[in-house]
Point group: C2
Chain length 316, copies 2
């Protein structure tokens, strides 16, 4: 029996997970925003959820082999320390120590994208692969990777920041200060910004009607739905998104030579719309035309990946 915790910016989700990666009991807790430098408030929330899980499942803490936690920030995996974590207002919280003292159980902590990549690798869409790169397309663009069966963390726990690889020139700068980051072409934010740009340039599209002229109401789903109806502007936004996503993924393949790519995050809801185009474009630009191309699939564990991957951190 294992416990996985998915620590988000607004909630803590926890689950008891069996050895086959099934969540057999799940609980969640909203977190209150605000300062929490030493992590006391959120740590107490994690402890509460773990206590509730073992109580409701009627097991002893001694039956838990591992408590694993995925965190939206930089993690010192070896020492169980969460470095900078903007969403949680944390700096250098010794989360591993705190929870090991509390429960007397082995605790492992990792970045949430790594944890999700691990879950997909073990039980999800890429479970027969040797190496998996997860690309998460949401408000921003992130990534995590399992290479040769192990999560690849890099020297500073800062690997797979694929969203901030520079792949071209864009009409607006990235939040990191650079121009041309993959994130500014392929995040939900990028899709919205480019649609608004075209509309403000006078282009006619059903997107304007759908939001009753309130361009601030445009989201990626609306753009994708308009593309499904063959709206020319929406299709142009989609083509640009695919062009740069193909470049970003192909760049990562040129460096990592993985055998599987998995697309996660909110924008992956549009995979039915863009996956074929994306695969065609990557096949067009890939360097070694005679090497079998790695598989590319939509992540299929959804929101469960965080809990499952965290619970399995000692296996990846």
């Amino acid at each position: 029996m294992r416990i996985g915790i998915d620590l988000g910016g607004t909630s803590i989700k926890g689950g008891i997970v069996d050895e086959d990666g099934n969540i057999i009991l799940e609980k969640s807790l909203k977190t209150v925003k605000g300062k929490d430098e030493n992590g006391d408030r959120i740590c107490n929330g994690i402890i509460k959820i773990i206590r509730e899980l073992i109580e409701e499942k009627n097991i002893s803490i001694n039956q838990v082999n591992l408590i694993g936690i995925g965190v939206p920030g930089n993690v010192d995996y070896k020492n169980g320390i969460v470095g900078r974590c903007v969403n949680l207002h944390w700096e250098n919280v010794h989360l591993g120590n705190i929870l090991e003292k509390e429960f007397g159980v082995k605790v492992l902590i990792d970045n949430d994208a790594n944890v999700a990549a691990g879950a997909e690798y073990l039980f999800g869409s890429t479970k027969k692969a040797n190496s998996t790169l997860l690309v998460t397309l949401g408000t921003g663009v992130g990534g995590g990777a399992v290479l040769n069966g192990k999560i690849y963390r890099g020297i500073n726990g800062a690997a797979m920041e694929i969203g901030h690889t520079i792949v071209g020139e864009n009409f607006y700068n990235c939040s990191c200060g650079n121009n041309g980051c993959l994130e500014t072409f392929t995040s939900a934010t990028a899709i919205i910004k480019y649609a608004i740009k075209l509309i403000e340039e006078g282009r006619k599209t059903i997107i304007t009607d759908i939001v009753n002229g309130n361009l601030n109401d445009i989201d990626a789903k609306i753009v994708f739905n308009a593309a499904r109806k063959d709206d020319v502007v929406a299709l142009e936004v989609l083509d640009r998104f695919v062009k740069y996503l193909a470049i970003g993924i192909n760049n990562a393949i040129s460096i990592l030579d993985v055998d599987s790519i998995v697309i996660g995050g909110g924008v992956s809801a549009g995979c039915d719309l863009f996956m074929d185009k994306l695969i065609n474009e990557i096949n067009r630009i890939k360097l070694f035309k005679d090497i079998p191309f790695c598989t590319i699939r939509k992540a299929n564990l959804g929101n469960s990946a965080g809990i499952i991957g965290a619970a399995m951190l000692d296996r990846i």
Copy 2:
């Protein structure tokens, strides 16, 4: 005692290497150009060099722990097979088997950039690092990496093709067919092409005088020398080279989070001229400003890296 072989497009170089990475005897042999599909001709050359080395050093083949070979092409490391190797006109040559049968000694074969990265990691400019990315800037741009102490090869032995990561838009297409490959901004070829472009646009520069108006005689060294004399056009070529090399290296750091970068290849002869600019530019664009930046240095084993790294393949 070890033997390392550096197999190039025009020569075979071989050396006896001690456990500390010193080449204690070296020999080389020119190869004849032309068809060699089953590898017989070049294999005979390798066998000849190995026999000469052990004879001249007056040792027995039983005293050789490893024969290692670096090859300019795709290698199936596990099975000792050289896949496609355009320079040698090879396709699927079972080099490992051939040499093990001949000498009864363990044989390991790898791509030449991997071998060079391994040599720099063990004995060269980055020997105190945990992970090393070697970027080779020559006629083309290539790379090899040691990650967490092991050469990283990828699923198809095709990893670290950093030269074909796309980093912008360029005025000419890459030999691979794409536009915007790092190689088209930062190879010797790229430096020459951009200098010629500026001259053909009417810009005045001492480069034109140096080559007596024969623009085909321009090479990267001439451009760098002009930049050393503060020639405005040469400095413009250099700045563009630095801008894109910084992007390419920073993209690789964003994915790999290594603690050391080493620059090799013929263009690295200009490191005295561009290294400070390059480091400044990478520091300006890097994502995590508060993480200590990885070191970036010129490769310091030069042409010996191929022999030394090959001889040490069982240690990396």
